[in-house]
Symmetry: C3
Subunit: 309 residues, 3 copies
């Protein structure tokens, strides 16, 4: 046992030394870092404010609606204020951070009715757009697309209000839960519907119009990122105009690429140039090869047939 | 502080007013809504009933198997009954809802041995189909494909028994955990293997035969959903016959599309017409462009080379 | 009520009988099975050791760094030792399992500084490669790609040290959280960047060089798995040389496929043959079809226009 303890102590020493290299991973003075668990909890509470009947905490059933909402809001306000103050303190003195954070939080909450109005349009778009939807209740309870869109809309308000990092933590949480990756900097119009959703990537400078519908695996991305940090701030992601539908696994790339209104982009399409309005774009039979997997003599496919793809 | 409190009260007022618009998102009378956390807990317990040795709660080790199982079943039965009764009460009187729910629950449990027999074939298919699998234990412990398939098979029974919403909540949970989206209405034969799985979408009216193997990113989807709710109830998703293998990111779309038995669909294929049996379908070299990324003078690629994709 | 109880007992009997079939799913003697919750907890603690300032448990703030680290390490060491011993006991006597497990754990911890050095390069690659990244803090806090890569690098050390199953449980957890599926057996060089990531699959025998960047939906996979278990141990997955960039949804398949250094593989490309160094590969305009979605008489697209994709 002594030998094991000695070896463990020796390892502890070597890791502690390893912490002294001053690299990004070695930083320890991060009193001011966001608390991910608190952010996830806050997202849950914001969803209860957005959809008051759907995600209600059953322990609150005894209180009045006003009391419920006040308690929820004060809880969220307190934590949001704390997180934003922490993040802002990296760049200014404590008092300025507190003052700015307070102003941001109040403005964020003032915008909630506007966010809710937008979210209602997203619910309607989902119901109209999905033959499998049996009710709007079902959509609100369990559609991952609506969850990701709601979190994005809340995060986007904080992004526009100038909050660093926190909006991204929120959308990355939604990304983890749903597989849908919407950067909080994207701009998205009303009646936005995401069906299935896994694998969707919507880049920071994407602009999406009204009544747009997108399916799983769609990328609205950048053309080339070899310029890395040099591209920050520029429009790198496409513009999707009103009433466009983009089917599964299509990729639309580039800051100057515009998909004209009323267009339909077919599954697996790969687009790096603008498309005029009212156009249907699809893959022309993809030059598929068809091979019959049978020996000349056999009626049924052979186990040994080489079906190298 | 007073000013802040006044501002918060004012915001609470505005949001409470906002709740009075009578929209879908404003509904509050939802005593009868499913409890997602309870459903997720129930899924975990159902998995312990399906795989008694694998996900055993260690605190039960002191009881006999019969006692373990009785306790688990009563717990699940109680919660399942409660959830289904709540959901049914939206459409009928309380007593009818209770009676129907009870009958559904008993029938669901009677079907568990049949579900287990099917799940055993899925385990065998995974082991036979994946060179990376070292044991069936490993598959049951950690393969996301098997988890998603198991949850789908349980949800499918409830779907067939006419339970609204709950089957979808179950499969959306599996979707969140695994990235695999199988609608509980799909019909899937034995020996079903999903490898990797992230991004798979299997639509509500899909029919899948025996011994089918599918990879990540595959969509078995609808051709066009512009008719929205008007398409509900119709067959919109393809039929996949026995022994078919579908490789990564292939899309097979349309209610009349049939992939004939023994066929192999290659990665990234995009199919909207039926395929005869025993056919290998692959992309014919995709018309790729190859450009050498070097200046005429340099031996090594240039940082400034324009590699616009 | 009696009737219900009788019916439930009858169902319990039938399921207990169903457990007697001796199939994989019926195994109950699994004292020696890994505890997934303990593994997930362990991953969280390992991340706190790798990034001491970023995921610090606030309750430890009062202790010295040395004390913090010792406590964390002993916790992880204890649990890792326990899990590995359990897994090894399936194949050897208890004492040998304990001894081997202890040795593996000590060696794993000795390698942590080397793993940290590699992870630092991954952080730098992410910052350099992503125009949307505002700081390395943001990357470490919330980039799913970095999370998946970090978990992979830790799991890989255990894989190389010969630990069965546990490395796969770790990477499947990361897969569930991020949608990124990296087999712990893969070999990956420094400065590895995954952007967005959902849907990525990196197979067991993949070899990746230095400074490689890959995007969502990329598969580095096998050509054909019809030989199932017969392929285990062979190189089935591609080799990606230094400085390669692979864009979204590309598939690169086959154990003999080598992507030459400095190459760029475009979005949606499908590659089953080696690519020479310094090559840009892209889809040649994909033979897209463009149809104007308007009736001859109308100026605007018609709702009834058949836009079958």
């Amino acid at each position: 046992m002594n030998t094991i303890e000695t070896q463990i102590e020796s390892i502890v020493d070597s890791i502690l030394s390893d912490y002294q290299h001053g690299r990004d991973i070695d930083k320890v003075d991060l009193k001011r870092h966001p608390d991910k668990a608190a952010v996830i909890d806050m997202i849950g509470k914001l969803l209860r404010i957005v959809y008051p009947g759907y995600f209600r905490d059953t322990s609150f059933r005894m209180y009045t609606s006003r009391h419920n909402l006040s308690m929820l809001m004060e809880d969220v306000m307190y934590n949001l204020n704390k997180q934003i103050t922490l993040i802002l303190q990296s760049g200014m003195d404590d008092d300025s951070a507190k003052e700015k954070s307070q102003a941001i939080c109040l403005e964020f909450f003032r915008r909630l009715p506007a966010v809710r109005a937008t979210v209602q349009t997203d619910v309607e778009a989902a119901y109209a757009g999905d033959p499998a939807a049996t009710s709007t209740d079902e959509i609100i309870f369990c559609y991952p697309g609506l969850f990701a869109i709601t979190v994005y809309r809340l995060a986007h308000e904080l992004y526009v209000l100038g909050v660093p990092m926190l909006p991204r933590i929120m959308t990355e949480h939604a990304h983890s839960v749903t597989g849908i990756d919407i950067h909080p900097g994207a701009t998205v119009g009303n009646y936005f519907f995401i069906d299935h959703g896994t694998g969707i990537v919507i880049g920071e400078t994407t602009i999406i119009g009204e009544n747009v519908k997108i399916y799983q695996g769609v990328t609205l991305g950048g053309l080339s990122t070899r310029a890395g940090q040099g591209l920050r701030g520029k429009k790198r992601h496409p513009t999707i105009e009103d009433n466009v539908t983009i089917y599964a696994n299509a990729s639309i790339l580039g800051g100057e690429t515009v998909i004209g209104r009323d267009s339909v982009i077919g599954a697996n399409a790969f687009i790096t140039h603008s498309i005029p309005e009212g156009t249907t774009v699809s893959i022309k039979s993809q030059e598929l090869q068809f091979k019959q997997r049978r020996c000349a003599d056999c009626a049924t496919p052979c186990e040994n047939w080489n079906d190298k793809i």
